[in-house]
């Protein structure tokens, strides 16, 4: 599987933090330059008169740089270095919380969720588009053979299970050649390896779940594939043992969409080509003269039921034809350049003139909780795109049954198709026009496109398609290749959307790596996707918790932590700047180096680290009101304007601390070390209260960290004050004995926090954000309006009774699905070419959130 080179991922938040850091850096440079110039002016005018400073009359020219450089040193703390360390620490913990989460453990396989990438949890809270694979992601990837059509005869239509269809059993037992050949292909045209356990049972090791299902079904119908030794395949049919020798395997690729075997029937020495694959990869190569209409009809019908279809075909090869082809095949296999393409081309030469035998239909059940998860996440404002390799009709059925698109009349599905470039262009323009002209009617509009049309759209009408992507909240892309999946992710990313790709198989790897966040389902198709992904989860429904709980909390916590880090650095830096105005703009540091170091490392970093435990809303409230995720998606908690608030807060606090320190400790008390410690204590107290005020839920750890840190500040300083060698010897003891110290500190705290409390209270009560309202509702036990039953009804984990699934029982199908799919097979036959023509006639449609979807790029 071709993996692209994964780029290191950077969260939107990190990008924003970098931007803000840049702004602060510019601010710092400006401050340094202004103060540097002011310092030099002061030096040349005032300092010459201050004889005790003993400035030399004439210095070398570079002395001009000394004062700016001093200010640069003084202001270097403006950009908090600690933010990187703190963020790494908390991000690690966010990831651990995901790993540890008991509610995201897949009980069936007891697989816990895993965050491979520890750096991007915040992005989970900012997801705008989810691109999901279908098979194995939305569905269980537990394939069950349900129906088949052999030579135009439908089996399994009556009871929904071909294995119990008496007619099929009869056909097999009576030895109908088509049926037997059909079963043979089902049993051996694959890469399955049978193994025999000690008890005599046969176990199959299959890479593909479809193949597994087919082999199992064949075995049920008495065609038991029981041994593979080297190239010899052994099949037991009724009581006779048949042997086949595999000559060549023409492997399945996502481009070819079929696989074939060339084998020799050991019974009669004939050389056979057995093929199975997607209908469009098999039916066009049917032998001339064979009527494929029946098969097309069967495929359509099965797809409408949401079943996966495969066409089976075969033909006999002449010895010389095989020999000739075999040489080409060997040569193609040994080429070094473009081998894949060459092999495909050679395969093409033999896979034609096929005798199509029939169609198999395999059911793939939806996973538990998929519709609820999609509904909740769509309420949270996340747009869903389904990218699948399956047929259009199958995809639409699955999309309907899992709330992906709404049935008529609430929803509308627009189709983009066409065989030629021109047709695709016109279709695309028509859909785009429909999307554009629709007003804000509350209606779900989705578009569906297949891989063929998508190829044109991506290569030739990229701009139009990009606009469509922005307009459309929902899309279904069928028959897409792995690289197209990745391209679609790329398009959404280029519009500045946060994308999450979720998939389970090797064909999703590129999409997963390309997306901002890749989520792998550690499912039946192996661990390829889960390994390449940033997060691996056991089931699709865990995505809800991953985004709404983990993503949202991570975003909120990081938003606070990062802005707080700037706040505290700016606070101390502003005080230094103010001090420079009363110290002859000479760049004197008010604080000693030990305090400055400890300020960043201990005093201010410990309390904020426990903000990783903060929860603004309980998990239940968030799940009930997923719309609240909007605050994270829109970046409401970390943006230049919230940052300006923190900037203003630190400026205000610096003014408070500085003015009170220098006025309360004026005249006879204006000893440098004492004033310095008074100001520092003020900062520490203020920051403790700031953290406390911004904390929404206090666990014991938060109390310990916030108030313990305050006590720790005094402990550390008492220790330093006890060391005669230190500059601050006895200072802290002296201060703590002075009533005026404590009076000053309480004054700073009250003066600093009162306005913040007042503003916060006013906003909280009279201009509440949605988060505030929910907090109030949650904590006052008020009425939380439930938005219906979003929580999935707990279903039994392993549900044997498949018949509950609507798609297997067309007669009992939920009536709301009716308008979209016409129940009778006649209707599908009419639209065999472009099955969704009738959607386009209803061009008056709407797009509810046009404005929301449009971003200023």
């Amino acid at each position: 599987m071709s993996r692209g080179i994964p780029e290191p991922k950077l969260t939107a938040m990190d990008a924003m933090i970098d931007k803000l850091t840049g702004a602060i850096f510019v601010f710092q440079i400006v401050v340094v330059m202004v103060l540097g110039i002011a310092g030099n002016v002061w030096k040349d005018t005032e300092a010459k008169k201050q004889w005790y400073v003993l400035y030399p009359d004439k210095g070398p020219w570079y002395e001009l740089l000394i004062i700016p450089l001093r200010f640069e040193l003084l202001c270097s703390i403006m950009i908090p270095i600690s933010i990187k360390v703190s963020l790494d620490l908390v991000k690690g913990l966010y990831a651990k919380f995901i790993d540890w989460d008991h509610r995201m453990v897949d009980l069936e396989t007891s697989t816990p969720s895993n965050a491979t990438n520890t750096a991007i949890s915040e992005d989970l809270g900012q997801v705008e588009y989810i691109l999901t694979d279908k098979t194995g992601t939305l569905t269980e990837n537990k394939m069950i053979f349900r129906r088949c059509c052999i030579s135009g005869i439908f089996y399994g239509n009556e009871n929904g299970d071909a294995l119990k269809d008496v007619e099929l059993l009869h056909a097999v037992s009576s030895g109908s050649p088509d049926a037997v050949q059909f079963l043979t292909i089902m049993a051996i045209c694959n890469t399955v390896i049978p193994t025999q356990s000690k008890t005599g049972d046969i176990l199959y090791k299959a890479q593909s779940q479809d193949e597994d299902a087919l082999v199992q079904a064949a075995a049920h119908l008495h065609m038991v594939f029981f041994n593979k030794s080297g190239n010899i395949l052994e099949v037991k049919f009724n009581s006779s043992i048949l042997q086949y020798e595999v000559l060549e395997t023409l492997e399945f690729t996502s481009d070819r969409k079929r696989m074939s075997l060339v084998l020799r029937d050991c019974q009669n020495g004939k050389i056979l080509l057995l093929s199975k694959g997607a209908d469009e990869a098999i039916l066009p190569y049917a032998r001339t003269g064979q009527q494929t209409r029946n098969f097309i009809e069967a495929v359509e019908q099965y797809a409408h039921l949401g079943l996966r279809t495969l066409c089976l075909a075969w033909r006999e090869l002449r010895e010389d034809e095989y020999q000739e082809w075999s040489l080409m095949f060997k040569e193609a296999n040994s080429t070094l350049v473009d081998r894949e393409w060459r092999v495909a081309e050679v395969c093409q030469r033999i896979e034609h003139n096929l005798e199509v035998l029939g169609v198999t239909a395999i059911e793939d059940r939806l996973q538990d909780g998929v519709p609820e998860t999609i509904e909740t996440l769509r309420k949270a404002g996340i747009n869903f795109w389904m990218l699948t390799g399956d047929k259009q009709n199958t995809a639409i059925q699955i999309a309907l049954s899992c709330n992906f698109i709404s049935p008529e009349p609430k929803g509308q599905l627009l189709s983009i198709d066409g065989k030629t470039e021109d047709e695709v262009r016109r279709s695309l323009e028509r859909v785009l026009l429909t999307m554009r002209i629709t007003t804000s009617e509350p209606k779900d509009v989705a578009f569906v496109i297949d891989g063929w049309a998508l190829d044109f759209a991506l290569n030739h009408y990229r701009k139009a398609f990009t606009e469509l992507a922005i307009l459309s909240r929902t899309a279904i892309c069928c028959r897409v290749t792995p690289s197209q999946k990745a391209q679609l992710v790329q398009i959404l990313k280029s519009c500045d959307y946060r994308t999450l790709a979720i998939g389970d198989g090797g064909n999703d790897v590129r999409m997963i790596q390309q997306a901002d966040i890749g989520v792998g389902i550690s499912g039946r198709e192996g661990l390829q996707a889960a390994r390449a992904a940033d997060y691996s989860i056991g089931k699709f429904r865990f995505l809800k918790r991953l985004i709404l709980v983990h993503g949202r909390y991570s975003y909120n916590r990081t938003a606070f932590l990062s802005q707080y880090s700037f706040y505290k650095s700016l606070l101390i830096c502003f005080i230094q700047i103010f001090f420079s105005f009363i110290s002859g703009v000479s760049g004197t540091s008010l604080f000693n180096s030990v305090s400055l170091m400890a300020y960043n490392v201990f005093y201010t970093s410990v309390p904020v680290l426990v903000s990783v435990l903060d929860k603004d809303l309980s998990e239940e409230t968030v799940i009930q009101h997923p719309q609240i995720l909007f605050y994270c998606q829109a970046g409401r908690l970390l943006n230049p304007s919230t940052f300006a608030g923190w900037f203003g807060r630190s400026l205000f606090h610096a003014v408070v601390v500085f003015l009170i320190s220098i006025h309360a400790y004026a005249y006879d008390k204006s000893e440098m070390e004492e004033v310095s410690m008074v100001a520092l204590s003020g900062c520490i107290w203020l920051q403790a209260f700031v953290v406390a005020m911004e904390t929404n839920s206090f666990t014991i750890l938060q109390h310990l960290a916030i108030w313990g840190n305050l006590a720790g500040f005094y402990a550390i300083n008492w220790i330093f004050s006890a060391l005669p060698a230190s500059g601050m010897y006895t200072i802290m003891f002296r201060l703590c004995r002075q009533p005026s110290y404590w009076i000053s500190i309480f004054l700073m705290t009250a003066a600093g926090m009162s306005p913040i409390l007042a503003i916060k209270y006013f906003r909280y009560t009279y201009r509440p954000s949605k988060i505030n309202t929910l907090q109030q509702a949650e904590r006052l036990g008020g009425p939380i309006v439930s938005l219906g039953t979003i929580e999935p009804q707990p279903r039994p984990l392993i549900e044997k009774d498949v018949s509950t699934l609507s798609i297997t029982q067309p007669k009992n199908r939920n009536p709301v699905y009716e308008p979209l799919l016409s129940d009778s097979p006649n209707a599908t036959r009419r639209s065999s070419g472009t099955p969704f023509d009738f959607f386009q006639s209803q061009s008056r449609s709407s797009l509810p959130n046009y404005s929301r979807n449009c971003k200023d790029n």
Binding site: Y52, F97, T588, Y667, L747, P768, A777
Partner: protein, 341 residues
């Protein structure tokens, strides 16, 4: 007939992470919210506590008796006023000057004598760093004059003890007091910090080569007295953080009664004329809060008052425009369910 089975389901081995309230983020938490009750009572309590404390601070600050006598201008006669800098720099001129002051309110001893300098940047970076603490405490480090440039060595390259600009610019005005023509003893013992005398300035370190350079800054030191007894120096070397500061000169242990005439003889030696600084002599009593400084009291009254005002405003708002907390009708998606559905 053999019954085929699918590939074995993954073995049930427990990869399930261990359960703890921490790992599940389920630690019991206190979740306060800003209810009107909480906020209004916080502001009320702050107001109620701060106003009395402010009054107490203000009262004790006002109870401090303080006399400030500016003398840098008084001690210049008209001839010298034209060229004060030349006057102060000239060793030959007579710089003695006398001033008098009548006690207005009774001053309870001990009375602290400070000198106050304005526009004097003891916190200038070049100045504040210009000292060597090792040299001050340890006789063996006499030669260590790091950081002391340009007052580190004499012209003959002998290390100066104490070195640096701070010591070099030691304040050298002196005051003598007569109360009702009776000489008043000024106690100059214990005016510095005890910890400085015991740990920061050595008892075996004697001034050396001090003020012998080309430039004479301030006071000279008696080379026979160890540094830890040179209390004026110790006080001076506790640099001030503000450009306007007071330093303790001495203490008067007796009381000063109302209408006592205090005559002060000042040796006006220190050059503040060059940079336009003022010199003041301060006589002050002290209380629990220190010297006279109404700032804290006023600030407490202000903050307390504003807090009470806030409380009142919030109560009024609460009464006039009540707003139920957590009303779900304020959630836009409940008002307009069509938008997001």
């Amino acid at each position: 007939m053999m019954e085929p089975h699918s590939a074995p389901t993954p073995k049930k081995y427990s990869k399930k992470p261990k359960y703890s309230k921490f790992s599940q983020q389920e630690l019991p938490a206190w979740k306060p919210i800003l209810t009107p009750g909480w906020v209004i009572s916080t502001f009320t309590v702050v107001g109620i506590v701060f106003i009395p404390v402010g009054l107490a601070s203000l009262f004790s600050s006002e109870s401090v008796e303080e006399a400030a006598i500016r003398y840098d201008d008084k001690c210049l006669n008209e001839i010298h006023a034209q060229n004060a800098v030349a006057f102060i720099k000239n060793d030959m001129t007579n710089k003695t000057c006398t001033t008098s002051w009548t006690v207005e309110r009774k001053m309870q001893g001990p009375i602290f004598i400070y000198y106050q300098l304005d526009n004097y940047y003891q916190n200038h970076r070049r100045y504040v760093k210009s000292r060597n603490d090792k040299q001050l405490v340890n006789p063996a480090s006499e030669g260590d004059t790091t950081n002391c440039y340009p007052q580190d060595k004499t012209n003959g390259s002998m290390p100066i003890v104490p070195c640096g600009l701070i010591a070099w610019s030691l304040f050298n005005d002196t005051y003598k007091f007569w109360v009702n023509t009776k000489s008043l003893t000024v106690n100059k013992k214990d005016i510095s910090w005890g910890s400085d005398r015991s740990h920061k300035f050595g008892s075996k370190v004697y001034p050396k080569n001090f003020q012998l350079g080309g430039l004479v800054g301030g006071a000279k030191l008696d080379e026979n007295i160890p540094l830890n007894q040179q209390e004026d120096l110790i006080v001076w070397m506790r640099t001030a953080a503000l450009p306007s500061f007071r330093k303790l000169y001495g203490k008067i242990e007796t009381n000063l009664e109302v209408n006592d005439l205090v005559e002060i003889v000042i040796e006006n030696n220190y050059n503040t004329y060059e940079f336009g600084g003022n010199k003041r002599l301060i006589l002050s009593t002290a209380t629990w809060i220190g010297g006279k400084n109404p700032f804290l009291g006023m600030a407490y009254l202000f903050v307390g008052g504003v807090s009470l005002l806030c409380a009142i405003v919030f109560i009024l708002l609460y009464v006039i425009k009540p707003r139920p907390l957590g009303d779900p009708s304020y959630l836009s998606w409940n008002k307009n369910p069509g938008i997001l559905k």
